[in-house]
Assembly symmetry: D3
Homo-oligomer: 168 residues x 6
């Protein structure tokens, strides 16, 4: 993968003595950046059918997950210890149901000094946890899988796109 050429050989979140720190990004430029992350809640056909049946006027199950995802994106610096607080300029969380699963895709945008892939990943897990909470009485065995960055744009490193077939 192309990005490996520029991969650091050390973690930037710990200093030379191994101590955790929030890396200073003051020297980076505030530019337009975006990230897309995704994940899959694997459950049963019965649950998906309930989710869709519920998706009648006022049916709030999928809406609850979307909103949980948007709100989780905003809580990223509270949850991820070494993440910077970021001026998120937009978030959308898309849910796509298949026979026995729900695919979650989150897109986050900013004009700030660091990327928003953690915000996108946090949105995906927030939506996934909310779905799990709602379906757990019917399917306690549901799993949240394949939480990953699909692409990110902007910043000095430019565009990164996941290689197809890299997983799942």
């Amino acid at each position: 993968m192309a990005q490996q050429d520029r991969s650091p050989q050390e973690f930037t979140h710990v200093d030379e003595t191994g101590a955790a720190r929030m890396v200073d990004v003051a020297g980076k430029e505030a530019t337009a950046r975006s990230a897309v992350a995704s994940g899959v809640v694997r459950t049963t056909a019965e649950v998906v059918s309930l989710l869709l049946r519920d998706d009648l006027p006022k049916g709030d199950a999928l809406a609850t997950a979307r909103i949980a995802g948007v709100m989780a994106a905003k809580r990223t610096p509270d949850l991820v210890p070494l993440c910077h607080p970021i001026a998120i300029s937009g978030v959308r969380v898309d849910l796509e149901t298949a026979r026995d699963r729900v695919r979650i895709t989150a897109t986050v945008r900013t004009t700030d000094r660091t990327g928003v892939e953690m915000e996108a990943l946090t949105a995906v897990t927030g939506a996934g946890l909310a779905l799990h909470d709602m379906i757990k009485a019917v399917d306690p065995a549901a799993t949240l899988d394949d939480v990953r960055v699909e692409r990110k744009e902007g910043g000095k490193t430019g565009t990164w796109v996941r290689e197809t077939g890299a997983s799942t």
Copy 2:
């Protein structure tokens, strides 16, 4: 699976009109309950080697993930819209490294009116997001997989244990 016998056919988090609500648990007893959840961060051997190399005196990478997991468990009601605030009595987050992955296991205990599987799942995703944040510069393609409940105990429904081989 045994639990299917007692599975409700409707989501309890939406009422008969489909409106989201926090289900009233006042009628449930405050009893000892626990839940274990797990997940896997799939990354590269290089990253695991950096995590372990980092695991020298003062190496904070794995500690950061453990603490992120414990703190995330406490934020569950802030993140999962319809979750009850719960008096968590204990949390532990275990990280086990393999060649190219880190397995996360979270155990949460309470003496309260509802189960703690959402807290355990939130702890796993919190630790997973923290790990992702630290390794993303080296491995932007890392994924968080198989986030799921392994077992829960206590409450009216008693013990539930994931069937082996059910996934992964």
Copy 3:
């Protein structure tokens, strides 16, 4: 009004020197308590029509307000300086649309040492603010009115019900 017979003549949230404090409720019993609060968002017929038109499959506007209300109830001790953290056992937020307004009703239950009217009021304002946010581009003049407790039950003071006709 009946409740005036038992009204204290002093605020309990400030001590004899006038200093703010969180009153100690350790001596009160943990009993079943509930509170209902309501409020009205006054807007235009155009907005209500958009809210209802939106109330198609996947229309999230009203769901967003309901969820904002439930989540706000959980944030009450973070927002109201002298409120106790409370083990909320259930929350529901009902929205009823009329020609040019949306009536919000929130019901909160607990089994704890103090009442939940502040949680119910906070749920109403949370839902009201979320509605305002969504409709403000169409109707910047919308107002949130009549935010008030309708009834509360439980605890030493027992049931209190708002006198009809007391306002609006």
Copy 4:
């Protein structure tokens, strides 16, 4: 009203499928913006007299409400699901007592990509909830009324001023 000429006919917070989202404001300019919101706590003359009597050296009741309002403004993105996190540059909350009511006025300023009317409204409700909490033992029937934007300035849409007599 003049602003109706430019009112959108659709909610921007839900997309064409009705799904909630945080609208992307990256394309908007970071400019000086301000908003003023107000509201009224209607209570009894007895309560206002206690508030004023309390307003002696160290009397914290009104201060508590002012501070609750300022802090609530900062929590706006945590409370209002689709609101952007905003770099608030200033907040003031003014309380004006009349015979049997307290008028709350909040002014919020920013230099950011979107307006601060939600922050101003949240400050008003935060102060109103704090007042309600302090006076509820004496006047459980108090109401929070007329929570509304009075004016907003800055941004592409420029100045908007509530028409006098539009409500109350």
Copy 5:
């Protein structure tokens, strides 16, 4: 000191492998507990005089510090990674001004499974930080000193009282 007889020789917050955890307190009884902590903001006589002059009707400086202390107590589990969420039943924060200093004393009560000394200490630092914030333009050299537990009562270990003369 008497308490040394019962001091553990190991930290309970890390397990035998050194991993951080939130110790399980499910086995401990929910009993009445309290803790008193104190601290001192050392500043200049000029600042204390401004604080007192400000302590006129509507003078909010000391009130702001008291309220910050009460609210900080409620945020303890968000701030202190391995602290349990606790059902605080009461908090008071007292400020005593001397010539060139302000003494902060916080008293926290609960009926829960673990002590509240961390909540009392967090209240003291919350009030201290708020004071520092308000006086820093006049006295950037102010310090927060002697933040410590004065006494704690309740629980299996019973009453602990700081030996006089132990510090300051």
Copy 6:
């Protein structure tokens, strides 16, 4: 001290009537700023020896304190009532153990409209509280001392450095 020449004679956080407010900083420039704060946890030689013994591979005690400090810096506007939300660009928390004490030093950087000394002080108290929590079972008499700003740079007032010998 040099800075006294430019010290205001009034608190800027309260207006002319004494009411608390968040001062408007919109007129200030967004420039690079930094602040260093420090503090000392005074405890026993036994505790420091446990902290260091614990500082083996996976020993999380000092890491927990560092991370608590970094995360506390991000919570500053939630804790300090009149503080502005700030775009922190970097935080580091250094812990230095001596025979019977741990010195905490926090460095915070930003490019924003106001200084970050409160963020640095909050990081120090966050780390100090986390240390206290971990050591309190062994040394309930531990104190957090000398929490103070060491230096700040940037902004209109430029560099301020604590005079040596000013305290401790």
